[in-house]
Symmetry: D2
Subunit: 250 residues, 4 copies
């Protein structure tokens, strides 16, 4: 029995990736794609500016785009994947969880709340258990599960075995991040041609705080961040399509 799933924010670059991965997946049946107002009612293939290397999964191409609203719960959705901007994600994700839906979210909102698991599967899969606590204190049947910031995901994967074997006191990290991380239209070409941009708003804080949470410990009253080390991140945007590079010193 496949799980019925929806993607919110399906036409953006993260949404496209969700669609590409879920479209022909053996476990999931992607039945609903939702996007912002100007795309509602259009066929997915007509509304999207597709940039993924593989073609749009056939059956998704023909789906009609729904509004971004918790009304999609009516379609007996089991799981909603959200690729929404943080500011509009928060409310709708809470409404969906209240309607009993499991929300897997790329939005940065709520990532640091102690009852919300921030999962990098190879690193802290056990943090998923905090959902029991989340349901109890939030009084809902659904769940909100967060995907970390992209750079943090790579970093914590590298740090995990070192933390476990030796411990870490200080992490110094410099990143050279791809354009794709800013979204399809996030970086105007005139700002990046013959340039690097040595600042990405909010990114350095995300790398620092999310790393500590992902490498933190599951406690009965929430995830306890690992505060045994310092993180100092310096994040740059470079003119590279989708491969991000980082170096880190301990």
């Amino acid at each position: 029995m496949k799980k019925r799933v929806a993607v919110l924010g399906a036409t953006g670059i993260v949404g496209q990736r969700f669609v590409s991965l879920l479209g022909d997946h053996p476990w999931f049946d992607l039945v609903t794609v939702a996007a912002s107002e100007r795309s509602i009612g259009k066929k997915y293939c007509d509304a999207v500016k597709w940039v993924i290397e593989k073609p749009i999964p056939k059956k998704v191409a023909e789906l009609e785009l729904s509004p971004i609203s918790s009304d999609i719960a009516k379609e007996k959705i089991d799981i909603v994947f959200t690729a929404l901007p943080a500011d509009i994600a928060k409310d709708i994700e809470i409404e969906l969880a209240r309607k009993g839906i499991v929300v897997v979210s790329n939005a940065s909102s709520m990532r640091l709340e102690p009852d919300i698991p921030l999962i990098n599967p190879e690193v802290n899969a056990d943090h998923i258990e905090i959902i029991e606590y989340q349901r109890r204190i939030r009084n809902w049947d659904g769940a909100i599960i967060k995907v970390p910031n992209c750079t943090t995901a790579i970093l914590t994967l590298s740090l995990k075995p070192i933390v476990d074997e030796f411990g870490i006191k200080k992490v110094i990290v410099a990143t050279m991040q791809a354009l794709s991380g800013a979204g399809l239209t996030g970086v105007p070409s005139m700002f990046i041609l013959d340039n690097i941009i040595p600042f990405i708003e909010g990114e350095e804080e995300k790398v620092e705080n999310e790393s500590k949470k992902i490498l933190g410990e599951l406690k009965s009253s929430g995830i306890e961040p690992n505060n045994s080390f310092l993180v100092s991140a310096s994040c740059h945007r470079v003119m590279v399509f989708r491969r991000t590079h980082g170096i880190c010193f301990l």
Copy 2:
């Protein structure tokens, strides 16, 4: 006595060029800069993302941004230079002309109307005389004067002496146009990295129609386009900052 001038759309890439050229000009006194809502009331130097090679002229840097409205006429402005998007330019330019102001406009609206001079100074400076006719039929004291599409300006400069000496039957032109022509944020980097874009909306029609008008003839009832030749344009966006290249065959 310097002319008192204003720039509308002063924070965009064309507006910045106007500001750079007018800021310390011996004939003009730039007294008003206007921009869209989110900049109103800010100092010019705080609101603008300046990309011109020379610094912001000192006295303009300190000017407070006004709203885009024909109310600027109250400030005894002689000439308004507009760098507005075509859709919002039309109405305000007409209002300004009605209030007796001379409007020099980069916006593409009204460029093809027979009583509106479309001036490429080295090519058709005499077309400016159509303003008398414009004032009579439009019943206003101001004037609207249009600057042509950038690619058309270069093309007609090359064609003028050939048209005069030999005549032309057909012009085939292929362009490779800089990013700056699309405005500061017009071309997202993910669309142009490792790419050329073989279509620029509306550009080919502009090159064709404006070329014929610029090389046309001043008649008592308006500018008569030169229809003695055909123009076939093929316009491409390339990842170059501000130098546009074109080739043309006759």
Copy 3:
């Protein structure tokens, strides 16, 4: 029975493409790869700076690089594919043909000689028959077959049906060509960043002359170029990895 084949110039960008296409081919057995002096004796995978999207075919990766010499004929090679620079290609290709080997060559040398077929398979496959004449007048048992210039290949494919149905008097073509056409190290980054290069040495002549030959006619005394139309080409290098774009007017 597979044909035994060799690739000369196997480490360059065209040579890599040959290796990628031939390495696991059902008709061909790639037994020899040859390259310039500094690579001789190294394993192919150690000497090459591989840039093709698919990995190096396994069995080719382990081949030892031979010198570029007609001595490879001793290895009972049926067909040699050459991706050599034009200046060193000519002599060795003639020697190989004299030793009875069929040479399929990307080098521009000899492309315009009337007894040398210049084949764009979808367009002029019948020109292959000129080999009989070539063998007779050159007095050899092998053969030399040329692959056209890359831009010409695309152009003639587009022109062929039009020439056949309607005839053509004049072809005007503007190209925006990828970096790969200049070879792996052909275009220094400082020359192309924030730039297009409106000249590629020899390219315009190749497009003009090779188009006429490919669209020409097989006669008993050689290929007769199609001189019924003029070609005017204007070739540009742009900062694009491997996709060349061209527009053409008739």
Copy 4:
């Protein structure tokens, strides 16, 4: 009385910078420009592929290129600026010093020898005094003075006041270096388009060793490197024309 000076390696990117700075300089008279074999005898302006933003100084444009040889000493040169590759620089610089000429060199050879001053003027101008010692032990009347690696120059300028006031134990530095540092043709465009290159041969060692020497101490028997701190450098090439960026942590 102006000093008579020569530039060796005058057509490369560093040589061009020397020519641009020296061509109209009030203290120096640039009388000789020398370059590699294929340019000898040509006028400078015909041989050079000029990429500097300002035009070629007029009188240099007309100079005829000489061979790279210590014979230029015959022209009563006071100072030679060399922008030669390290491997050919060493011998000729020694010959020139023996002939009594002061050599100011950008080549990396000999930079770490204790009697050769490695000068970053704002940081260690006093190291120039080691020339007395150099002349004594090398038994020559000329001198060899080295310019540091470009990245090291920026780094040591930042470190100097911190070293003086507080001392430093460890320096961690990540660089994003411009194409110009690799020379005019040093980075093929196919290697850097849509990429960063996280390795520059020899660069990390230069940053580490030269920083210690520049921040070292002038002793009677040579410059003593400052070994009181560790340097860990991680150097990247990025697709930027000429502005290098680095970040450093202490």
